[in-house]
């Protein structure tokens, strides 16, 4: 038995900046993070139409390096990490031996033999532990750098314009040439920085990894430079509605140890054609049990949102699913939800109902994502 004492709150290296900006805070995986600065909706719309700045310093950064780093990650993760090029990023899954999801991660190949694995704050130790265990048979080291690194995301159609207002940010590959899901190293006022054209909002954007000590200055420069582009700081409340509209799963809601990737619509993230074994392969090949629920998008009319853990019922009132995330979509103006439902009612167009605290709200299955930005 291990004795558990409540862990003290953790604070971002940008905490004082947020306090000064008037943020309200929420607990997220033991971290006190900004939930909003002024208005969830205003921050949401800023990301859809302009630009916003998020502090994501709670997220975990785990470095896998060494001659066999790529092979170690091919074994540890569900995707073929060895196939990505230097500078490229890839969304992947850390599976359990039973085929469940320990975490969903983004892997950046920063060098031939060095990768950065970005994990969810709540799964930091599970992810770092699993990666270390799985890499132990390879010539690779696993180092958890989460405590040293801050993460700032600039998201929105004007994200590039905002980045270009900070000349102190010197990138090896200019931001203008950085493609979506690629990254570059560089310096900011002489300090190392890694910038990925990635995000979790459904918009264009960049994520900047930098040492804790330099984060506040970078944040201030981005706010100052971005003012002409209408930049605002944005909290986790808007981040959640943004990622929901974009149909992006959130660990603990759409993903978990009991979820097979294929149920979550992430079958394509698992590379069953790559050579060699990887953890979870046999279980994923066998697949989930017959009739296992699958993730769908639901749209409803009116203003009442189905929320996490609300039942999805059919016309007879029988429960056929459970909502995992839901909100009144700020962009679309109607309620949206992601839910796990029985395969029999998972076809697009199937009419269903959300049990909203006793009221049956009509909803229908629609394709994910709910929102997709226009790209040129």
């Amino acid at each position: 038995m291990t004795e558990h004492t409540p862990a003290p709150d953790r604070f971002s290296p940008l905490h004082e900046v947020h306090v000064a900006a008037g943020a309200s805070f929420t607990d997220f995986a033991g971290w006190q993070m900004p939930v909003r600065y002024s208005s969830d909706l205003a921050e949401h719309h800023a990301v859809r139409s302009g630009a916003a700045l998020f502090d994501l310093s709670h997220m975990a950064e785990i470095i896998v390096a060494g001659p066999d780093a790529a092979a170690a990650l091919d074994f540890a993760l569900a995707g073929k990490i060895s196939a990505i090029k230097i500078g490229q990023a890839k969304y992947s899954l850390l599976l359990s031996r039973e085929g469940g999801i320990i975490d969903d991660v983004v892997v950046y190949r920063t060098h031939e033999n060095r990768f950065g694995v970005v994990a969810n704050a709540g799964n930091r130790f599970q992810a770092a532990g699993a990666l270390a265990a799985r890499a132990s048979e390879f010539d690779a080291t696993v180092v958890d750098e989460s405590d040293q690194l801050a993460l700032i995301a600039v998201q929105g159609p004007k994200a590039l314009d905002v980045l270009l207002t900070v000349p102190e940010l010197q990138l090896e590959l200019p931001a203008t040439e950085l493609r979506y899901y690629w990254s570059t190293l560089g310096t900011y006022r002489g300090h190392e920085v890694m910038v990925g054209r990635t995000g979790y909002t459904g918009e264009d954007g960049f994520e900047l990894y930098i040492a804790n000590a330099n984060a506040a200055q970078l944040w201030a420069d981005l706010i100052a430079g971005g003012t002409e582009h209408g930049i605002v700081p944005a909290g986790l409340a808007s981040r959640d509605t943004l990622r929901l509209e974009a149909g992006m799963p959130l660990y603990g809601h759409e993903l978990g140890l009991e979820t097979f990737p294929v149920q979550a619509g992430l079958g394509r993230v698992v590379n069953l054609t790559k050579e060699g074994d990887f953890v979870g392969r046999a279980a994923v090949e066998a697949g989930p049990v017959e009739g296992a629920r699958v993730l769908v998008g639901l749209a409803a009319e009116g203003k009442r949102a189905g929320r996490a853990d609300y039942a999805v019922v059919d016309a007879d009132g029988a429960e056929v699913g459970i909502v995992t995330s839901g909100a009144l979509s700020p962009t679309l103006g109607h309620p949206i939800a992601m839910a796990y439902v029985d395969p029999a009612v998972s076809e697009v167009g199937t009419p269903l109902f959300l049990d909203v605290r006793g009221t049956r709200v009509p909803a229908s299955v629609i394709p994910l994502p709910f929102y997709k930005r226009e790209t040129n």
Partner: protein, 123 residues
């Protein structure tokens, strides 16, 4: 906007303004702030009998759902249709245009004073 110091309050973060035997009820700025942007308000029907402490409506934000409690026994005299159409009034003017309902009552239960409520939210 009502003078907050003359209003009465409940521990459920509602304010009550008593004029004669009619109480106007809303939620406090503190509650509106905690909820975040209000996007949906469900109010009781005019004429409905309400009992002190019972749930008579809902105030939903993008992130969560708040319940509207009846702060006293009585009959719903009027509801704020403007706030049903424009739920953001709860955030922009919680003590004024964001009022929720008017309840005609027989007996006024003990409520919190401005000072007592201020202490409550300061904790």
């Amino acid at each position: 906007m009502a003078d907050q110091s003359t209003l009465q309050y409940t521990a459920e973060h509602e304010w009550v303004e008593v004029i004669g035997d009619v109480a106007t009820v809303g939620i406090t700025a503190y509650a509106a702030d905690k909820l975040g942007d209000v996007v949906f308000v469900d109010l009781p029907a005019v004429g409905a009998a309400v009992a002190s402490g019972s749930i008579v409506g809902e105030i939903e934000s993008t992130k969560s759902v708040g319940e509207l409690f009846a702060p006293l026994d009585g009959t719903v005299e009027e509801i704020n249709d403007a706030v049903v159409d424009s739920p953001e009034l709860v955030n922009s003017d919680p003590f004024g245009e964001g009022w929720l309902m008017k309840v005609r009552f027989g007996e006024l239960p003990p409520l919190l004073s401005f000072e007592q409520y201020s202490e409550l939210v300061a904790e």
